[in-house]
């Protein structure tokens, strides 16, 4: 019942703290809020690392077991589109980093421009992904949906790819394993694409807010933390590109 404050108070403060409107009441300062939310975003990225980690594990197991199938399967992916996609995403990471700089230095029009470029490059990436996936669908290389091993048992039946790589025909039991490769291709690029879609959605929201000047008046937390997310998605793609597209393009 006693209300005696057994706790010594901190430095005598006025009845109501002065703080910017974007500082939440449970934080003592803007710096603490920025620190905490930044750390929270890094922890979230750790969860994403482990989430993709399961897929990477499956990939490693299957590649270890069925290397020939993975090599031949990877020849079905276009180096041209893959490299273009990688460059698009790298450039979008650059424009995202520039967005953060613009927000930090209060350059509103620069911020809007950079966010918009990031958005557009993201859409370019998804568009190219769509082209690639459509090609797989047309060639019956989508696992579980009328999958065909024809191109692997008889490589000459796919003249375009055969002209480039001259793959030897796979034995039927190894040819069947290409479905594992394509399953992992779709699962990993699909999961990555889902994260891209979410990121692009948030970017659209951010462009809208940036035009209103919300991020160029000292409160850059949202842009910074989203930047972390976007760069992470880029890093995942860097590894996917190396693991899915570049298994072995020689011979």
């Amino acid at each position: 019942m006693s209300d005696s404050s057994a706790i010594e108070n901190s430095v005598a403060v006025e009845a109501h703290h002065e703080h910017p409107p974007y500082q939440r009441h449970h934080f003592e300062s803007v710096a603490q809020q920025f620190d905490a939310t930044n750390f929270a975003m890094w922890l979230f990225l750790l969860t994403e690392v482990m989430f993709f980690g399961g897929l990477f594990t499956a990939y490693l197991v299957m590649r270890n077991w069925y290397y020939p199938a993975f090599v031949v399967g990877s020849h079905q992916l276009s180096i041209f589109w893959g490299t273009l996609n990688t460059l698009a995403l790298i450039c979008s990471s650059f424009t995202m980093a520039m967005s953060v700089w613009c927000a930090q230095t209060r350059r509103k029009s620069g911020l809007v421009l950079c966010l918009t470029l990031t958005f557009v490059l993201g859409l370019v990436f998804l568009g190219i992904k769509g082209i690639e996936w459509h090609e797989k669908w047309v060639k019956h290389h989508v696992p579980g949906l009328r999958y065909s091993v024809e191109a692997f048992v008889n490589p000459a039946s796919d003249p375009e790819v055969f002209a480039e790589y001259h793959d030897k025909p796979l034995a039927p039991d190894m040819a069947v394993k290409t479905e594992q490769y394509f399953f992992l291709y779709f699962a990993m690029t699909g999961m990555h694409a889902l994260h891209m879609v979410i990121g692009i959605g948030i970017l659209a929201f951010m462009i809208f807010r940036a035009r209103a000047g919300d991020y160029t008046s000292g409160h850059v937390t949202f842009v910074e933390n989203f930047g972390l997310y976007w760069h992470f998605v880029d890093i995942i793609w860097i590894y996917l590109f190396a693991l899915l597209y570049l298994i072995s393009r020689h011979q």
Partner: protein, 102 residues
């Protein structure tokens, strides 16, 4: 408290970002080129090494980790540690199965 905020301390400028962008583009072209060269068992090693190099550039500069607190660096390191633990110990099982019963 503000000494913990990397934001207030160090704003990374466009010059650095452009440099990193070029490095990443070069890395991309290098890794594509390397995949066309027959290096036997070293192919995946080179590919992953280049990928890791690119990833490190993104992490250190685009994600500002070079200028971040020790806590941020420790957090990333611990996440990578557990990720590598998952991969290594799972693969160790698969690889050692081929060694036979004992």
């Amino acid at each position: 408290m503000s000494e913990q905020t990397e934001n207030a301390q160090h704003i990374v400028g466009p010059k650095v970002y452009v440099l990193i962008l070029f490095a990443l583009i070069v890395g991309t072209l290098a890794t594509v080129g390397a995949s066309f060269v027959e290096m036997g068992v070293w192919n995946p090693v080179v590919a992953l090494a280049i990928a890791t190099g690119k990833a490190m550039l993104v992490v250190l500069f685009f994600m500002h980790v070079k200028y971040s607190t020790k806590l941020t660096k420790l957090t990333i390191a611990s996440g990578l540690f557990i990720f590598l633990g998952l991969i290594t110990m799972t693969m160790a099982d698969y690889i050692s199965r081929a060694w036979g019963r004992w």
